[in-house]
Amino acid sequence: MTNDKVLQVRNLSKVYGKGCSKCFELTGPEHNTNICPHCGSVVAAHDISFDLYKGEILGIMGESGSGKSTAVKNLFFDEIPSSGQAIFFDEGKQYDLFNLNAQQKRHLRNHRFGMVYQNPHLGLNFNVSAGGNIAERLLMSQLSNYQEIRERAIELLHRTEVLTERMDEMPKNFSGGMQQRVQIAKALATNPTLLFLDEVTTGLDLSVQAAILDLIMEIQRESETAMIAVTHDLGVIRLLAGRTIVMKYGRIIESGLTDQILEDPQDAYTQRLVASAL
């Protein structure tokens, strides 16, 4: 089983602000804040540790501001962590994520990782067409022949159920659900080993949400891509994630099998969260 590990995160921390020696002591669930009263820094995430295996979907849930996106952004190199370690295992190689040079980071981001942002403006280039967005990502990989790239883009849009007739339209013409599909197509373009999903279905109509969730499950079944799914929607967690992490004020307060987290939550906060969602 250990051969199937994709990601190992240990003690990841991210502090916004200058930080002080009291930051970690004075923040967290027991202090009901992530802001250090001593220096005013935000402890957005602290002491985050978990493992992710091939083909697995790990859920991260928690209320707004609990540090879910922060955890994911640090792993995708959108942010630089304050401390901690993350090892990415891929094709027999091992990458110490927080000690790579810029070129190595770019390589992983462009080829081995995929990200679907809650806000499509972060994941898509709104100045080029849907097809162009996918082509941009493919151009950074081995494909260089125009025809090959176009064919692969069509295949991906077809896969994510975006009408291929519309591939030359700009993303701003698309509905929210469609923009998410284009983001997913773009993220999948290079057959990534690891896919980050940050609130992929938030703000979409129920039927559109359902279709996107179906799509994600299909991708998981077909490709064995490991995924981290950030959401505050317990229904999404239940459907997608085998294991779940619960965060509050930057810390992991509980983690376990998803059905256990939802049916036998141990922590008072998780119990309240689950009860209020019923």
Partner: protein, 245 residues
Amino acid sequence: MNIQPILEVEDFSKTFILHEQGKSLPSSQSVFLKAFPGRLTALIGPTGAGKSTVLKGIYRTYLPTSGRIMFTTGQGQILDLALADEHKILELRQEEIGFVTQFLHTLPRQSTEDVVAMPLIKEGVPHDIALEKARDILGKLNLPERLWAVSPATFSGGEKQRVNLARGLLAQPRLLLLDEPTASLDAKTTDRVIELIQNLKETGTAMIAIFHDMDLVKKLADDVVKLEPPVGTEHFFNSNTNEVA
């Protein structure tokens, strides 16, 4: 009798700590039971005796408070399900341990026949063969054919139960847990379920089933374990200190 159990539950107890209500609720107490290949162990007892709690504890939907749940895997490895690594539990759920409950969580676009065939497809059975088997068992369980291609998301309780049974039985796990598998079924379908459970026993599956109908116990059980509601039921504590009041 000289067969080895594949599961031995030893002194299992579960107490829920409900922080919001400041309460601790003993739910199952000192449960001992075994499951054998090709045999069915019936769990009986009044409502609130903790029967479902035991099954959920074995499946690790509930974290046991104490006790050991020793399972012998297909590879001959013996492990305590109460302590096993989460990835190991997920692997066992996929390959060796099935659970038929009254609840069904599925994706809205997945058809009933796909839901039922999924465990076989994941095992590598070709799609068309898996679908054929799924339809066959759905037919045996009297689920109207017009529902096979539809998502079970909006099915009635009895229809969902048929889908759960079809999926659970078709997968032929080494250990199958059944929580009142016929609770919302008519007499005719119940007879079919009895037949299917008997067939599954013959293939060597070990089963633990909760029945409230003694007639079913008589027909299907090889061993019977009776549970009583835990004594000294609720304890209140000060939720700020978590100490027993």
